[in-house]
Amino acid sequence: MNKTIRYLALLMILILPVRTLATEDIRPYFSAPYTGEKVQQYSITLPLSRHEKATFHIPKDCGKLNSHLLEGSGRWGTRIERRLWIKADDDCRYLNFLRQYPRNAERDFVSTYDFYNARISDLPLRPGCDLDLLLRNPSACPPSLPGMPNFSMFMNNMPSHQEQPRELQDCRFENGVFRGYIYHTGMGLQCRKDPKAPGYRILSVDFANVNGDQCQDAVLRMVPIGRGGRPSLLILPLTRCSETEKFSLPSDSNYPRFGPY
């Protein structure tokens, strides 16, 4: 018995760091303030009051940053400094989102998927609806997925009537980029690649168990590109519990979210 307890204790000791490592291993990339460089940590100096400033090393100082925010420090500084408070806070929140469940999921059907070359149809996005179809038969336009906010601004990517494609092409990201048009017509989902058209870029794909269930999740961060796009970020967690399933939004998650970088 004692021996069993000793083994159990040893197992616990061994498991604990593994669990810890599981969350600590999640080190997402951020856009560094001021430079926009791809970094895993950055330093930022923010005003705490009219005359006081403090430097935070993100993500190490996320806790400290949060405390200062709760004290109301985020209202100090110029418009840009106030925006930088929000950025640092968002980055910390994202990290927390990834790390909120320390345990890795038992089943992982996401990390093997090549999201950077994902087929559009595999993703639970809501493409825009062809105007003709919308006018003729609005119900033919697919509804938003449950739990999926209306990202029409983000995804309503439609050509004008005259520019409608003559032939269908494979709708997929290529090296994280899709530029073209995705929309529903009476003939179903259609897309057309156009290197000059607006589109989307997948900035990063992080893997984590964001809702503590048994299936590992992937979190995509995407930005719109092309004329009319804005430097906004779509954080889209996706999950599936079998190889054949389409990706869906994980349940019990505060995300997806569309907002500033």
Binding site: T35, R79, I225
Partner: protein
């Protein structure tokens, strides 16, 4: 002045000792003198515009850069880039280089995998020609490179070398060291590029400094030679030729000492002062020497000739020195540093030259004046006098035609004046053959140019330029500039945001953000130090930096006016915009310089009119005397208009300086005429003698001045060449005017100098006792006297003769005059003797009949001659005085009539008694 000249005539060794002493003091300061060309010296000093630009520079940094210009077929070939990289590393190590901007440092703002990447265009050297072409194509889209550091369509690129401020505490460099270091590095690139050079304003200033040094050595002997030749041809006296050169030499030494002591450097403008001193300083010397020789020709010995010179010329040279001094000083009224430095140094130099003249000339003449190269003067011969007479006769006969000719010339000149254009550009002044200028022209052809200006747009409200609406205001101004086509490059904060926006949106070309939110999002990826040159820390003030190649001040003025008009009409009412920058300050300096110099000319002419008016106690005389000096000015401006000579730093000085010099001859002429008029009864005779007497000194000084000014045509700076041409032109036209306009203008005038008036004090008692002036106050007497003229007569002279037409009455001031009837064998039967204070000649005048008697001078007399016209003029202008005068005249006439009747009665009585009749 007479006393000073006399003193040094009597104590020559003291004079020479003083000269030596001052020279030793000046010599001790001369090592402090340096050739220094400053960037700010051509700008208006201490004005609000410059303060504003200083503030702009503090906020946004300097506009000016030096460029490392490179041209080659395959610009981005690996070996070329490696050599360039090495050169840039060397440049960055130079102590005076703040930073070097090039394709190796300018960020290529793009995204890589969605993340911002600001690595420079040449962070990695291109591996293939295609890669190189791709980099070039991308770089050409960047407004911070296109036309600035990279030609959009030619194989030309450049590196911008931003220099540290020369006033930084650790600065131990100057333009010359900068130029040499940059040229050395550019030379290392020559084997790799078809064209490789470095150019910027330090190089321009270095070339100017080098030219000044070279020209000092070249022009100085030329000026001395020109003066010597001119003096030799006209004076032919060894001492007379050497003395002006000697006084000029001492005054130059003293002036250099003064410049060293007060830390005024030799620059483009002050560099001409030594030569000017040689030329201008000689004029007083020539007049003094001429008068000295005049005395010798009249048979006086050296000492007597010196006294004669001191008495005749002392006051005149002082006066002419003052007018020339004012001419030079008027240039210093400018707020432009080089001009006020010039004004101060040149006027001081002239004063020192005058000091050298009044000490050295009498001292040397006292010691060596008797030595003459040849004892006969060809000029002072009877033939010359005859020529003077013939000339004056001809001039008087053809006066209408001559005046008509001058009026026509003046009108033609006036028509040409509006054609004058303005150009005040340091680079232009170097001339077409200048290597630096050719390099700059290459930059102007292939890139946006070296000149710059800034448009500062200010709202006064924080974060204004984080709003698209206000960024679009910047964009609108830039679009307007682009549309007008005078600038190939304008950059602003809006451009940087457009680049950033395009990078995030992965667009091919820069695009302005569409909303304020996007701007805010972009701002978190922007470090203010990257855009410090374009936006203030609080985003309330923005700068649009415009590079251009406009060299013509006139064109720049038009462009700026048009731009300001566009801004005034189109800019959002919440914004204020102001155009500033090096170009704008240079333009303001040009305007200030031109208006200042025109003002100087106007002030100088007014001062001349006032001085001459005061000197001759009548403003009209001043105005008439100014005529020969107005004429050259008008001619000069007309000539500039027709010959396309621009108004610049050299040409604007020419008029003021030349007038200051030219008026001397007018003064000499008028003063001599006044003197001759006193000595002679006839205007014609006085004029003939004046022309005869002034011909040599006036022509000598003018020829010497013209020769001296023409020396400047051998300079390599265009404004200095133009200064020389115009200076010579003004002196030449002033010479002609002095012998044509001046005689005609003053011949009908009655000249009374202030000295004449002041000397009346000596005869105050005489005048107050005179029956003519009884009851009049002293100032009323003086006013009346000014309507007449004073004539001196020697014993035996006749004031008038029997039978002459009566047009004058006389007041005897000194001496004695007998009124007599001609007796047998020319004897005089005295009717009456007049003493100082008495009036005579009035009876025939008022009776309007010919003289019935002779008026003979018994002892040397001074007579105040009052003409009928003068009296009538007084009646019109000063009725109270004339009423009193007529009352006094009536009383005097009555008194004299009673006296005459009594005399006749007495005579009759004595006759009767002689005959034994009743009494």
């Amino acid at each position: 002045m007479n006393r000073i000249l006399s003193y040094f005539s009597n104590h020559p060794w003291i004079g020479l000792g003083i000269i030596l002493f001052i020279s030793i003091i000046a010599g001790s300061q001369i090592d402090k003198l340096e050739v220094r060309i400053s960037a700010d010296e051509m700008l208006v000093q201490n004005n609000e515009e410059q303060d504003f630009y200083r503030e702009v520079r503090r906020l946004f940094g300097d506009e000016q850069i030096s460029l490392l210009y490179l041209q080659a077929d395959d610009l981005l070939a690996r070996n070329k880039l490696e050599a360039l990289k090495t050169a840039i590393l060397k440049l960055e190590k130079l102590p005076f280089v703040s930073r070097v901007e090039s394709l190796f440092s300018i960020p290529w703002v793009k995204t890589v995998d969605g993340y911002l990447d600001k690595k420079p265009y040449l962070d990695k050297l291109p591996e293939t020609p295609e890669q190189a072409q791709s980099i070039l194509a991308e770089a050409r889209k960047n407004p911070f490179l296109r036309n600035l550091l990279l030609s959009p369509d030619k194989d030309v690129m450049a590196a911008a070398i931003v220099l540290k401020k020369t006033d930084s505490p650790e600065a131990d460099w100057n333009d010359e060291t900068i130029t040499n270091a940059l040229n050395d590095i550019a030379a290392e690139l020559a084997p790799f590029y078809s064209t490789a050079f470095s150019v910027g304003f330090p190089q321009v200033r270095t070339e100017i400094a080098e030219r000044i040094r070279a020209e000092q050595a070249r022009l100085f002997p030329l000026a001395v030679a020109a003066l010597l030749i001119a003096l030799f041809l006209l004076l032919r006296q060894l001492i007379d030729i050497l003395l002006p050169v000697l006084t000029a030499g001492f005054s130059i030494l003293w002036t250099f000492g003064f410049m060293g002591a007060v830390d005024i450097p030799i620059n483009v403008v002050t560099s001409i002062i030594p030569i000017l001193l040689i030329i201008v300083g000689s004029t007083e010397d020539i007049h003094l020497l001429s008068e000295f020789r005049h005395g010798q020709k009249a048979g006086l010995d050296s000492q007597a000739s010196l006294k004669h010179m001191s008495r005749r010329m002392g006051s005149i040279v002082l006066l002419t020195f003052i007018t020339t001094y004012l001419g030079f000083l008027s240039v210093g009224l400018s707020r432009i540093e080089v001009l006020w430095q010039f004004g101060l140094v040149a006027s001081t130099g002239l004063a020192l030259n005058f000091l050298a003249t009044i000490i050295l000339i009498p001292s040397v003449l006292a010691l060596a004046g008797k030595w003459q190269l040849d004892g006969k003067s060809r000029i002072y011969s009877n033939r010359s006098r005859l020529l003077a007479k013939r000339y004056w006769d001809w001039l008087w006969r053809h006066r209408r035609a001559v005046i008509g000719f001058f009026v026509a010339c003046t009108l033609i000149a006036i028509i040409g004046i509006p054609r004058i254009h303005i150009n005040h550009n340091a680079i232009d002044s170097l001339g077409a053959d200048s290597e630096v200028r050719q390099k700059i022209e290459l930059i102007n052809q292939n890139l946006a140019g070296l000149e710059s200006l800034s448009i500062i747009v200010d709202s006064g409200i924080e974060d204004t330029f984080l709003k698209v609406r206000y960024l679009e205001e910047l964009e609108a101004i830039q679009k307007h500039i682009h549309k007008k086509g005078w600038s190939e490059s304008s950059t602003s904060f809006a451009d940087y945001l457009s680049l950033l926006n395009a990078a995030f949106q992965e667009l091919d070309d820069p695009v302005m953000p569409e909303s304020d939110d996007i701007v805010t999002e972009l701002m978190i990826f922007l470090d203010h130090k990257d855009v410090k040159a374009y936006i203030s820390q609080d985003f309330s003030r923005a700068r649009i930096l415009v590079r251009h190649s406009i060299e013509s001040s006139e064109q720049l003025q038009l462009v700026i006016s048009e731009l300001q008009q566009f801004i005034d009409q189109n800019l959002d009412t919440g914004l204020r915009a102001r155009i500033t920058g090096d170009s704008v300050l240079t333009l303001s300096a040009t305007n200030a310089m031109i208006s200042g110099q025109l003002q100087s000319i106007a002030i100088l002419l007014v001062i001349i009119v006032l001085i001459i008016g005061l000197l001759f106690t009548e403003l009209k005389v001043g105005l008439l005397a100014a005529l020969p000096n107005f004429f050259p000015v008008i001619t000069m401006f007309g000539f500039m208009g027709y010959m396309q000579i621009p108004l610049n730093i050299g040409t604007t000085m020419a008029a003021a300086i030349a007038i200051g010099i030219a008026v001397d001859d007018t003064l000499h002429f008028m003063l001599r005429y006044n003197r001759e008029l006193k000595a002679r009864k006839s205007h014609d005779s006085a004029m003939e003698h004046t022309i005869y007497g002034e011909a040599l000194p006036v022509v000598s000084t003018s020829v010497a001045l013209i020769a001296g000014f023409l020396v400047f045509t051998q300079a390599s700076f265009e404004p200095i060449i133009q200064f020389g041409i115009l200076g010579a032109l003004v002196i030449a036209t002033a010479l002609i005017a002095d012998f044509i306009i001046t005689p005609l203008a003053v011949s009908s005038l009655r000249l009374v100098t202030i000295w004449d008036v002041l000397s009346l004090r000596l005869r105050k008692k005489v005048l107050e006792k005179s029956p003519l002036f009884r009851g009049l106050k002293p100032w009323q007497i003086r006013q009346f006297i000014l309507s007449g003229r004073m004539v001196e007569y020697s014993r035996g002279d006749f004031v008038f003769r029997r039978g002459e037409v009566s047009t004058e009455l006389y007041v005897l001031l000194t001496g004695k005059v007998d009124i007599c009837l001609p007796g047998q064998e020319g004897s005089c039967n005295r009717l009456e003797q007049f003493h100082p204070g008495d009036v005579f000649g009035d009876v025939a005048l008022f009776a309007n009949i010919p003289r019935k008697t002779d008026a003979m001078v018994v002892e040397h007399s001074t007579v105040l001659v009052l003409t009928r016209e003068g009296i009538e003029r007084t009646m019109r202008h000063r009725p109270l005085i004339s009423a009193r005068i007529f009352s006094n005249l009536t009383a005097d006439l009555s008194r004299r009539m009673i006296k005459l009747i009594s005399k006749q009665q007495l005579k009759a009585k004595s006759g009767n008694s002689d005959k034994g009749g009743n009494p």
